[in-house]
């Protein structure tokens, strides 16, 4: 085995790109390990774990690029090095057409009328960049995670003082003036405004509204912690105010995981007594309080979208084309062995995962998860499922140093195979989120995995059922209908909302 470590001083590349490179290079024949990373402390640890460190690596700084390779031959190593170089320069050349500034300051000199900063730098630098952007009078969408709660509070207070949007940290989705930011679907413009503390929950609702023929005015993301007592819902309240004052918005949708009680009260206080209609969905929370103020509530994301649509555009004439309702559950059950009793949900979207757990809890006494609803349902190890298990593979413990499962299906595909080994598993439940930022063709990753899983199951004389919740719009770059068709052709049951997917999965395992 040959090891080779190359350090490129002062060459910063974004982590998404480096992950892509690492993955491609690892696929080169004769290459056993390939780690192409910035020399952060965390990455140095990773390198230590695969025994690819030397003194130079330890002394390198976070702006130095490390190319660490293990291979079977000099030739393989050389091929890998050439490949890295090629992929790195390809990017540089693509950028050659125009000057990319290195600082926000210079960007604003070049485009002084900029009005929003979309920030996705590593967490440790994110708060400072956001602060600079707010100070410069820009609205901010902070995609980065790993920002401290303390920094979040500071940033939001600063934004409040300046009257600016401070969406995030860890804000995955927003649509401002029809422009999708980070992970967002191509939704139609319309009269429904959304303030969402949950990324995929917001994507699900805005996508369903669009598929129904409605549209959204603005989608404001707040980041998942906005409704914690410490942050006090600053951004949700500012978002509500803005949508109340927006002539283009008739209906306002609020989506979040259950907020802190005092925050919930504040939010609802803000929402009451306006001309605008509100639809409130706090996933799994007690909504009697909201109802007291005459606010419409919804118990699922699907229902939220339906109610918002009806509040804005009138009765839904006909439910959208939903092929999955024709599925013959009985027939599917016949293909399963009696031992196959459980659902394994492998989610990329945290809110979709939450929703699945909440729905399943109505039928099953326990639903295990890495982000479980109760302490006793928490999986001892994220890698080991128990009975009914629904895991959020977009959670930090899965994504540290790895690409998000919405972008890269590798981890999920591996997990599918692992789950398929179990004699107890009947259904593998997946979410597939389309839209900007997400994988360009999820079916191309999942179809081979589904086929292979089935082959294994059939060889054992059984079957495994795949149920997919497909989140997106017909206009999304991935082509919603094509994704649906290809997954169905592979034998998966494709539901157009997460709620339906969960219900189908449950109906299969219910005796």
């Amino acid at each position: 085995m040959i090891k080779e470590i190359v350090i490129k001083k002062n060459s910063f590349f974004d982590s998404v790109m480096l992950m892509t490179i690492s993955r491609e290079v690892k696929n080169i024949e004769g290459i056993k390990e390939a780690v192409v990373v910035m020399a952060t402390d965390f990455n140095k640890e990773t390198l230590k774990n695969v025994d690819l460190v030397n003194d130079e690596v330890m002394e390198a700084t976070p702006s130095d690029l490390i190319i660490a390779l293990k291979g079977e031959s000099e030739d393989a190593i050389q091929t890998a090095k050439d490949k890295v170089e090629e992929m790195l320069t390809k990017r540089t050349q693509a950028q050659g057409s125009e000057y990319n500034p290195k600082t926000l300051e210079m960007a604003l000199q070049m485009a002084p009328d900029s009005n929003l900063a979309l920030i996705s730098v590593p967490g440790m630098y994110a708060a400072e960049e956001a602060r600079k952007a707010l100070e410069a009078g820009l609205h901010v969408m902070l995609f980065s995670d790993n920002v401290s709660l303390e920094d979040e509070i500071k940033l939001k207070k600063l934004a409040q003082e300046k009257g600016l949007l401070m969406m995030g940290p860890d804000c995955g989705t927003a649509i401002i003036n029809g422009v999708p930011l980070a992970f967002a679907n191509k939704v139609k413009r319309g009269k429904i405004g959304i303030v969402g503390a949950s990324g995929t929950g917001t994507q699900e609702v805005s996508s369903i509204i669009t598929r129904l023929g409605g549209g959204v005015s603005q989608v404001i993301g707040t980041g998942g912690r906005d409704l914690k007592a410490e942050v006090g819902g600053i951004m949700m309240i500012m978002g509500i105010e803005a949508l109340i004052n927006d002539d283009e918005t008739d209906v306002i949708v609020l989506i979040s995981k259950p907020p802190a009680k005092e925050v919930m009260e504040k939010v609802i206080e803000k929402a009451k007594g306006t001309q605008k209609k509100f639809i409130v969905h706090f996933i799994g929370a007690d909504l009697s309080f909201a109802e007291k103020y005459g606010l419409e509530t919804a118990s699922t994301l699907e229902e939220t979208a339906f109610k918002a649509y009806e509040a804005c555009y009138g009765k839904i004439a006909e439910l959208p084309y939903e092929e999955e309702v024709r599925i013959d559950i009985e027939k599917i059950r016949e293909t399963l062995k009696p031992s196959q009793r459980y659902i394994r949900g492998l989610y990329s979207g945290g809110s979709l995962c939450d929703e699945a757990m909440v729905l399943m809890k109505k039928k099953f006494s326990k639903v295990y998860s890495n982000i479980a609803l109760t302490e006793e349902e928490k999986l001892p190890s994220k890698d080991q499922s128990i009975k009914h298990t629904v895991i959020d593979m977009g959670d930090d413990e899965f994504t540290r140093g790895k690409p998000h499962p919405m972008i890269d299906y590798t981890q999920r595909v591996e997990r599918i195979f692992k789950e398929a080994e179990s004699e107890e598993v009947a259904v593998i439940l997946l979410d597939v989120v389309l839209g900007y930022g997400a994988h360009k063709d999820p079916a191309s990753e999942l179809v081979p995995a589904i086929n292979k899983t089935r082959e294994i199951a059939e060889s054992k004389g059984s079957n495994i059922v795949f149920v997919v919740a497909l989140c997106g719009t017909y206009e999304d770059p991935q082509d919603y209908k094509k994704q649906k068709e290809e997954l169905e052709k592979a034998g998966a049951i494709v539901a157009t909302t997460n709620k339906r997917a969960v219900e189908i999965a449950m109906s299969i395992v219910e005796a």
Partner: protein, 415 residues
């Protein structure tokens, strides 16, 4: 606490207000402050004979022979190592010199005066491409040409200048930038402009026709003739910003072939040095990176005050010489705005809508952005006597700026 912003504004205003004018030509010994018959000046920060690189040693050997202090290479080396000769940085004598920058007592030098601040700067005259003293060549032809420059070229320009009057060098640089020069690695326009200005004086001078013709031919045959004059002007400009309390603006960048050194306005005469880096560039046929000496020369005084590599967008043709694409050249200039605090009021770039060149390097910005100044430069062969082998781009080592920043914090008790 010291007001850094104000100090920097003061420093850069000095750059912008400077008016470097060619006021005369003189013998180094007569005009350069602190010059003695046994002093030899060189480019870059101070460096001992033992640590000098090949081209610098070669140039010193040549200068000792040229001055008649040694009769051959052997004697020159013995003399150089004896301690009898004083070696010093040009910068300690208000002077600059390209590549090895070797300036010895008998050489004719340009005298440029900064009319705004009354400081002067000096630079020797350019010998042309190929085998030249500044690349460490010291053959017979080299010495012969130096003698001719001393006896004919220098006096001719001196006389001619007296006839045509002082020449505003900044004005020539400004025009040259409009004509596709960046005034460091491309000086074709500048040389032509200079020749146009000095021509009537040369023709009217009392020199023999033969000599005048040779002077014309010599300048016409060397596109870089203007470089040394331009460098003297840059030096006169740069020095005006020396020693402004609290300023983090760089007023000197220089290389001696071994080390790269910078000096910062608010830190006075102190050098911050680190090993000079290799130039990335294009090589003349028959040469490659293995032949190259590390970065050398004082010509980086051009970038220090906002031209040269900083003005690459003005000189798209330069990419044929240093490598890259025209877009790269423009992007280099763009990136320099991120580490400078002003846009020049005189040096302008047509392609960027006559935007002023990025001027006044702030060490804080260099550290914060990790963007290093970009320098256009020639590449000298690592062995004495071979000459120029290519041209390209180079950066100063980051360490110079890091050390300067730490020293600044110490100097001003900022802990």
């Amino acid at each position: 606490m010291v007001d850094i912003e104000r100090a920097n504004q003061e420093a850069v205003e000095r750059f912008l207000n400077s008016q470097p004018v060619l006021v005369g030509v003189g013998r180094a010994l007569d005009v350069i402050p602190g010059m003695t018959p046994k002093t030899i000046l060189h480019a870059g920060p101070p460096v001992s004979w033992e640590r000098m690189s090949g081209p610098l040693r070669g140039a010193i050997i040549g200068a000792l022979i040229y001055e008649g202090l040694a009769k051959d290479e052997q004697e020159a080396i013995e003399l150089a190592s004896s301690g009898e000769i004083t070696f010093d940085s040009c910068h300690h004598h208000n002077a600059v010199g390209p590549m090895a920058g070797v300036t010895s007592p008998s050489m004719p030098v340009f005298i440029v005066e900064n009319k705004t601040y009354s400081n002067k700067a000096y630079c020797n005259m350019n010998e042309g491409l190929g085998k030249a003293l500044r690349f460490g060549a010291y053959g017979e032809d080299v010495i012969k040409r130096l003698k001719w420059m001393e006896q004919v070229l220098g006096p001719a320009i001196k006389d001619a200048l007296e006839i045509v009057g002082e020449i505003d060098v900044k004005n020539l640089q400004v025009q040259a930038l409009m004509m596709g020069d960046e005034c460091h690695n491309r000086n074709r326009a500048g040389t032509s402009l200079f020749l146009r200005q000095i021509a009537p004086g040369l023709v009217k001078s009392s020199l023999p026709k033969e000599d005048i013709a040779k002077v014309f031919e010599f300048i016409n045959g060397n596109d870089h003739f203007f470089l040394n004059l331009s460098m003297a002007a840059c030096k006169a400009t740069a020095d005006s910003a020396k020693g402004i309390k609290g300023s983090t603006i760089v007023y000197t960048m220089a290389r001696n072939g071994t080390d790269f050194g910078i000096r910062v306005s608010g830190l006075g005469e102190r050098w911050f040095t680190a090993p000079a880096e290799k130039v990335r560039g294009l090589y003349f046929p028959g040469f490659g990176p293995e032949d190259a000496n590390p970065d050398i020369g004082d010509s980086v005084i051009s970038e220090t005050i906002g031209i040269g590599g900083f003005a690459m967008a003005a000189a798209p043709a330069i990419v044929q010489f240093v490598g890259g694409t025209v877009k790269d050249a423009i992007n280099y200039t763009q990136s320099m705005y991120e580490i400078t605090i002003a846009e020049n009021n005189a040096y302008r770039i047509p392609y960027l809508d006559f935007r002023g060149t990025p001027t006044g390097i702030d060490i804080r910005k260099v550290i914060e952005t990790a963007i290093l100044p970009i320098i256009n430069t020639g590449i000298a062969h690592k062995n004495p006597g071979v000459g120029q082998v290519g041209a390209g781009l180079v950066n100063p080592p980051m360490k110079c700026f890091e050390d300067a920043l730490i020293a600044f914090a110490e100097e001003y008790n900022i802990e």
